[in-house]
């Protein structure tokens, strides 16, 4: 069975990086993976999107998918349209600091204030790592430690400091989920 996860946000949020980390972590776990990155060519700060497909067997479906198992949304831009791809009961995982409400009612909407958390930790840019940590921890789609490993491996030696910071952000995200587990449902209406 193939599980498709769509990562969405705007340029500069680090969407592509966290998608890549998740896919590689899955590969390290022996899964098959396909990763498709969409970022406009002559477009700065435009929408950024990435699709990850994971499965036990080689991935047959082409990377542009009609339906998905989960969405990790760092920003509301274009989310409504994207959300239509979620299978009923699918998972909408949102950065609540910017995504104030869930576009659909028939899906499991989980939110955490990733940007707020990162910002309080001193670097807004860490938001995507916070979200990835939370996503991994709450879905268990790949072991949390793998995610950290792969993130570290993805950075050159001299970026050690950055790696440590990222690790902290991932951990914050994971930590944030632990208490409320998968129950941190977000309002499907009225900004919260």
């Amino acid at each position: 069975m193939e599980r498709e996860i769509i990562f969405t946000g705007i340029g500069g949020q680090g969407i592509q990086l966290i998608a890549k980390i998740l896919a590689e972590a899955a590969v390290e776990e022996g899964q098959h993976a396909m990763l498709f990155a969409v970022y406009g060519g002559m477009m700065r700060g435009g929408p950024s999107e990435s699709t990850v497909v994971l499965g036990e067997a080689p991935i047959e479906a082409p990377p542009i998918i009609p339906h998905c198992w989960a969405i990790l949304a760092m920003h509301p831009q274009g989310l409504d349209e994207m959300a239509r791809k979620l299978r009923p009961g699918g998972l909408l995982f949102a950065n609540q600091t910017l995504v104030k409400e869930a576009p659909r009612h028939d899906v499991r909407a989980i939110g955490l204030p990733a940007t707020r958390i990162a910002e309080q930790a001193g670097n807004i840019a860490g938001a995507s790592m916070v979200a990835l940590g939370a996503f991994a921890a709450s879905t268990g789609i790949v072991p949390f430690e793998r995610v950290v490993e792969v993130m570290r491996a993805s950075l050159p030696a001299h970026r050690r400091q950055r790696a440590d910071e990222n690790a902290r952000f991932l951990e914050m995200g994971a930590a944030h989920m632990r208490p409320h587990g998968a129950v941190a449902l977000m309002p499907a209406s009225a900004a919260g």
Binding site: I10, Q13, G45, H75, T97, L98, T115, R116, E119, I124
Partner: protein
Amino acid sequence: MRATVTIDIETCKGCALCVPVCPPAVLSMSEAVNGKGYRYPELVEGCTGCELCAKVCPDYCFEVYREPAGRREARP
């Protein structure tokens, strides 16, 4: 209040270029973030209307207002 600026905080991308150039240092970055997820400058009392923030802002967020020279002199 002799002068002030309006700041289009939703357009702001949080680069903070405006903060250090402000002579009276009446600009500082917010705690909160805007719809794009960026912090934005907040103004406190004391703007002199020097326009520097407006000139360095890459996102054209500022408009600067001043009391007309005439009226200023009029005061004691």
